[in-house]
Symmetry: C2
């Protein structure tokens, strides 16, 4: 298969590597930055560096547009104009409504792989970036069935799990599970910094709640400004909904309405449990909390003990005490039997452990 | 020293254990639940179970009140009435304004140890729960200096780091670094659940942002309803501030004001960096991201390699891919040299690793 990749950064470069090695495709690449293009060739992300978009896509059967969100619309139109009539063109932008709404060309299918959002650059590209990753596709009533099927098959071959979704639902979903959490993390760190500054306080031991909630604060500005703006409709709707919900909680607090606060909290607990379990194999996820001395190697001991027993750790969070002399390791594992066995194994290391 | 502990759950029980073993104190305990009281005695948390509050505190030099927040005020008054004139009385409630404002007895000092918020029950009590933990104290102009000093010394002896703070600042700080993050986590999971339900979507790979931001959602309702309500003034003010900030971001998004969004994000980045570094020894914290196959043992390999080199892991977050076939391990370590060395060591395991 002849594949064109326009924009050979982390995502484009990884698409090229995976397509060359797993699809045996011939990959032509183009990038506005000549040094990036050369690096992509050196790293084996593309077979051939094209001098312009037209020669990259001139005889392609499949074209990936992997340029920054701000430049995406223009590039897609340029590629649709230059590509053959039977070439499927797809993008990898993190929001879809704006990109898809204006384009009825039967060759275009919007796309969004859930991978690699945290780093950038072809130097981090790798063949297996999409292994196991959900790759959203947004076909419309004008999309060619044959071309959609070609794209779907290619994505499966590079290890991804294609999933068709309506563009608006996609954008609301991303606002909810990615963009809003980033916005709230930003707000939380700024609030905390202001309270501390005003009170002349040094930062206390930040508990797990604060560290977890703000881990993504101030994410890569070059990428995230584009992401926020490109999904601004769904994000604004999400923010409005957040404000409404915060005001509802505020109302319950002001009224001192303990049953309302308790049931609101209980609702969140049920939702979190449901979200953790949706789409995961192996039964419900259980949380274990181990209290450990914060010496190097103690996490390794736990991970090794579980590893030997074949118990995989779904998620993990370390919460050190102020002076880092000890901490709590929260572990999430699948299934009742695994949780019970993991608890035994950790206790067997002389480490206090409880089911949360 | 003769110490009374009223309420012998996780915190009270741990105070008792630490006081007995580290202070060589004689500890009398009382709990409204006779079974809990008996368990505390069996576990060595107290020397003697008292039949009522008065006999527990009758000849105490130091009394800890470790009952649920909702019952705190009444218990403190009861204990102040029964305790000798030279007994210092302190509580461990997570909010301080309401408790402190009404009490001018020179024997009373409000307190709040930052430890153990995630579990409950004397069965989890342990001698070293407070080792290295910040323990806030809220002395006022009426507090006896001699009694404050006695309390301060006792807390240091059980391993804690006492820190005096104004009650209002304390409550705003807790609202900011603990209670607000919990509220926002609850809101985020409920929003996501609604979007998914409405769209008929299965949960996609939730990125690190969503998992991190919602890890504390639906925290123990019995404890947290009390915490939210007892700090409702500061929490409502925090919520108002959150709403104002969200509306400011919304405005920038609506106006399509990229520079405003970028500088807001940059501000958050600077604040997060400052918060991570405040009060931490060993230089700035660096984030490494390792891309790993999600097999049992791989986290152990990394932790072991760093452990052997004496590099401590300050914080860690695992982000699995959809099918759990691989994932990204984010690691935070102190100092430039440690970060560079850790990167070498992880790369030496054949694992792709980048500095974020």
């Amino acid at each position: 298969m002849r594949i064109a990749v326009v924009g050979v950064g982390l995502i484009g470069g990884s698409v090229g590597m995976a397509a060359r090695r797993r699809l045996n495709a011939e990959v032509r690449g183009y990038d506005a930055d000549a040094r990036v293009l050369e690096l992509a060739r050196e790293r084996g992300a593309i077979d051939q560096a094209s001098p312009d978009v037209a020669s990259a896509v001139g005889d392609a059967e499949l074209a990936f547009v992997a340029v920054p969100v701000g430049a995406l619309g223009e590039r897609i139109d340029e590629i649709l104009a230059a590509a053959p009539p039977d070439c499927v063109v797809t993008d990898v932008g993190s929001t879809k409504h704006t990109i898809v709404a204006g384009r009825s060309d039967q060759r275009f299918v919007g796309g969004h792989p859930l991978a690699g959002a945290e780093t950038a650059g072809v130097e981090h590209a790798r063949e297996d970036l999409f292994q196991g990753a959900t790759w959203y596709l947004t076909p419309t009533s004008t999309t060619s069935g044959v071309l959609y099927e070609r794209l779907h098959r290619a994505l499966t071959s590079v290890g991804a799990q294609p999933a068709a979704i309506d563009p608006d639902t996609h954008d609301r979903l991303m606002a909810s599970v990615s963009h809003l959490p980033h916005v709230l993390a930003n707000v939380l760190v700024t609030q905390a910094a202001n309270v501390l500054l005003e009170g002349g306080e040094a930062m206390p031991a930040t508990g797990p709640s604060f560290r977890d909630a703000t881990r993504v604060a101030g994410a890569n500005g070059a990428i995230w400004t584009d992401i926020y703006l490109s999904n601004r409709e769904a994000l604004m709707a999400g923010l409005d909904d957040t404000v409404r919900r915060l005001e509802a909680v505020r109302g319950a607090l002001e009224a001192g309405d303990a049953p309302a606060v308790a049931s609101w909290n209980e609702e969140a607990r049920a939702h979190r449990q449901a979200l953790l379990e949706t789409g995961l194999a192996g039964g419900p996820v259980h949380e274990l909390r181990a209290s450990v001395p914060n010496r190097p190697g103690v996490v390794a001991d736990i991970a090794l003990a579980l590893g030997r027993a074949g118990i995989n750790i779904v998620d993990m969070a370390l919460s050190p005490s102020t002076d880092f002399s000890r901490g709590v390791v929260a572990l999430w594992v699948h299934g009742d039997a695994n949780a019970a066995r993991a608890q035994e194994l950790i206790a067997g290391l002389g480490i206090a452990v409880t089911r949360a």
